[in-house]
């Protein structure tokens, strides 16, 4: 080592002795890395405005066709605006904008708000009925491409303009503890067993049957039928059943109507009752109720008995007879009496000991069979395979099914050529 080099080495040694804390960095380079990352990210984070000020939290989006020839769509967004205050209240604003695409309209909404539109909290998307004649997936494309959008976002259609629907929802969401998205969730879980979310809609649309379902909600002037909210000088009041509230009221009514799509285009609108029938053959849903009239036995006299469906199990078996598939649907229903309207007097008996007699069981079986065949008829008439029988048959015996399809003039009309044999067994809970 030359003299010059040893001098430098000595100088370095002295420097390190003086600044001993630097040894920590040279010995543990990860500390240096940590400090670099902290400085780089820390300053960037400090210089950025808070997310609350950068984003407008969109909770619902409605899409209408625009009257303007230049602009194709009118998009309305229900936006949550956080306000710092002592109590807890949610304040929503509705912003509407037109654009040549949904994306452009959303940009304009951001422009009107002066914030970026954050889509991760969207609870539902409303499509105006006029859009349903075309492939709806193209209207939803912008939203589905957004990775932040939850796939459980509810998809709704309405016969009024989506803007009016969002406006009605604004009043509800501001004050009521019941949100529009929750109405649909209740619909799915307890009554009509139809999950109207983006995910299930696209699963059906992109599946082999190409059938998707979407709940239809209407907005009516307040008559006490649905969930209502009233607007009075900037203040809102709301309640279920529409009983109360000051000023003119609008109601969001869900009576189970469901629009059935094939390849993204609306084909049929089912009423709640029709959907119930279809659901008997669609899957193991534990929802809804069965009503039997004119029940007479030792305790009842021409009574109307309502049974809650406590459990439903469908067992499908496929057999081919002369190259034609025969689907045997064995249905096991577990029911519980939920209401009795006796024409004489109320039956005075412990509800837990109230048994379903064989005669009543026969009546239920008949009713369910009839409902099932009506449900199948709806599917056949409209060539809408809501029960996904295509997958069932193909997975059961692909070769036979293919052969069967080849024998048909129109393979799309396969439902009309399948034989269904239904059996129902009823058990009491």
């Amino acid at each position: 080592m030359s003299e010059k080099q040893s001098k430098i080495a000595k100088k370095y040694e002295n420097f390190m002795k003086k600044h001993y804390y630097l040894c920590a960095i040279t010995k543990t380079p990860m500390l240096l890395v940590f400090l670099t990352i902290a400085v780089l990210f820390g300053f960037k984070a400090l210089s950025m405005p808070s997310e609350v000020n950068r984003y407008a939290v969109v909770t619902a989006v409605g899409i209408d066709l625009s009257d303007d020839e230049d602009k194709m769509y009118e998009v309305s967004a229900l936006v949550f605006v956080p306000i710092a205050e002592q109590g807890f209240s949610e304040s929503y604003k509705m912003i509407s904008s037109e654009g040549r695409s949904v994306s452009e309209a959303m940009d304009f909404i951001g422009l009107h708000l002066g914030r970026e539109t954050g889509l991760s909290h969207i609870k539902f998307i409303v499509l105006n009925e006029d859009l349903l004649m075309d492939d709806v997936s193209k209207f939803l494309d912008y939203l589905t491409r957004n990775i932040h959008l939850s796939s459980s976002t509810k998809l709704i259609t309405t016969d009024v303009s989506a803007k009016d629907f969002i406006s009605a929802a604004q009043n509800l969401d501001s004050e009521s503890s019941i949100k529009v998205s929750e109405i649909i969730t209740y619909n799915r879980r307890y009554i009509y067993a139809t999950d109207s979310s983006l995910e299930t809609f696209f699963k059906g649309t992109f599946g082999p049957t190409k059938v998707g379902l979407m709940s239809k909600l209407t907005v009516k002037p307040g008559e006490g039928e649905g969930l209502s909210a009233a607007q009075t000088d900037g203040q809102t009041a709301s309640q279920g059943g529409g009983a109360g509230g000051a000023g003119p009221k609008t109601e969001i009514v869900n009576d189970g109507e469901t629009v059935v799509f094939k390849e993204g285009v609306s084909k049929l609108t089912l009423t709640g009752e029709q959907l119930k029938k279809v659901n008997f053959v669609r899957g193991n849903y534990k929802s809804g109720s069965i009503e039997i009239d004119h029940v007479t036995d030792k305790d009842l006299n021409d009574a109307r008995v309502v049974f809650e469906v406590f459990g439903k199990k469908l067992n499908f078996k496929v057999k081919y007879e002369n190259n034609v598939p025969v689907i045997y649907i064995d249905t096991s229903l577990t029911l519980r009496i939920s209401e009795v309207e006796n024409s004489g007097k109320s039956p005075q008996q412990n509800v837990e000991l109230f048994v379903i007699t064989p005669k009543t069981t026969d009546m239920i079986e008949m009713k369910v069979k009839r409902s099932m065949s009506e449900g199948l008829e709806i599917m056949r008439d409209n060539q809408l395979d809501m029960g996904d029988f295509y997958t069932m048959l193909s997975n059961n015996n692909r070769k036979e099914f293919k052969k069967f399809l080849e024998t048909l003039e129109d393979p799309e009309d396969y439902l009309n050529h399948i034989v269904f044999k239904v059996s129902v067994k009823v058990y009491s809970k």
Binding site: P29, S152, G207
Partner: protein
């Protein structure tokens, strides 16, 4: 800074392979496989894992026969320096490309899900120093760190799987795709597999006692089963909309989060992805360093780190900027590199056995 390379034992090798087998398979791959091969996509990982297991078995045979020698030495000894150099240049390229693909997919995932505003280079600050440090610290340090994190990572994967099972609720059309399409999809994504080739690179650094091979085989089997299960659960959860959900392990958690109301449970999978990404990149760099050393034995190993970093930054920064390009890179360029783990290495290893036999015959 010195590059330290001490030997690793069966557990450390097994855990390293366990972690490596998840690379490039738990985010975008299941979605791409379903898009191309439908439900039959679940058989593709099974097929390739069987091949990887075969590769590991080949290594087991080779290691048992030559316990103290490196793969590089064996190649040099039997086929000469050109073959050895060419094989290790290919391996260098293979590990570099795999690292690029893995980094890109991970970065794009985090950019889309969390760090919307952060550039790739800022994101690299979180990865490159740790990746370099782990690789430079040596195989044993890396192995021990992974050993420390192993129970944590296994728990995360098992948790994701158990939670993911609750998301399965739909039937799916079976055997809907012709065999040609399935084969084409498998060929397109072959490069996501073959990571077991690492064992040939670290051959001379592995010390496995008698009876400890079962640890390595068990951990590789476990990782293969878990990756296959992730693919199956993801496909059965999303079925026909799988193409809309490109990040498998995250998506199976978010499916349950959204439908089961379990809050931000998907964060668990994100933590797992971060830890896996750190280790994957470190292993690829280490493998690159070891191969580089065989090609340029006289150069300081730190230059291999520098070369890797520069090449990595160049490819990441100028050629692959988004998910589309990353997927195109994986489907169009990387499959050619798969010839290394599934072609060149097994053929050379096989020839090593055959040539020795001939020599033995000659000697007799």
């Amino acid at each position: 800074m010195k590059v330290l390379d001490k030997n690793i034992n069966a557990w450390q090798l097994g855990i390293m392979l366990f972690i490596l087998l998840f690379a490039n398979k738990i985010l975008v791959l299941p979605s791409l496989l379903f898009e191309g091969a439908g439900l039959e996509a679940v058989f593709i990982p099974v097929l390739f894992f069987v091949l990887e297991m075969g590769l590991l078995f080949l290594f087991y045979k080779l290691k048992t026969k030559h316990p103290a020698q490196s793969f590089s030495f064996l190649l040099k000894n039997r086929f000469g320096t050109p073959v050895q150099v060419v094989a290790f240049v290919f391996l260098c390229a293979y590990f570099l490309c795999k690292a690029v693909l893995l980094y890109n997919v991970t970065y794009i995932f985090f950019r889309n899900v969390v760090y919307k505003d952060y550039s790739s280079f800022l994101f690299l600050f979180c990865f490159i120093p740790i990746m370099n440090h782990l690789a430079i610290s040596g195989l044993r340090v890396m192995g021990r760190t992974m050993q420390l994190f192993f129970p944590f990572m296994l728990t995360i994967v098992l948790f994701c799987l158990v939670v993911g099972v609750f998301g399965i609720n739909s039937s799916v059309l079976m055997f809907s795709k012709p065999f040609a399409e399935i084969a084409l999809t498998a060929a397109k994504h072959i490069s996501s597999f073959g990571d077991v080739v690492l064992v040939f690179v670290v051959m001379h650094r592995v010390q496995i006692k008698k009876g400890e091979w079962k640890v390595v085989f068990s951990l590789v089997t476990l990782a293969s089963v878990l990756v296959c299960l992730i693919t199956v659960i993801f496909i059965l959860s999303y079925t026909y909309t799988a193409f809309m959900h490109p990040y498998a392990i995250f998506e199976i958690m978010s499916y349950v989060k959204e439908y089961g109301g379990l809050g931000r449970i998907d964060v668990v999978s994100m933590v797992g992805i971060i830890v896996f990404a750190y280790f994957h990149l470190a292993i690829y760099l280490k493998a690159f360093m070891l191969c580089f050393k065989e090609v340029f034995p006289k150069i300081n190993p730190l230059y291999s780190v520098l070369t890797f970093n520069l090449a990595f930054l160049l490819i990441v920064g100028f050629f692959i900027l988004n998910l589309e390009q990353a997927v195109s890179f994986a489907e169009k360029i990387l499959p050619y590199f798969a010839i290394i783990p599934f072609g060149i290495v097994p053929i050379l290893s096989g020839l090593l056995f055959l040539i020795k036999k001939r020599k033995e015959v000659k000697n007799e």
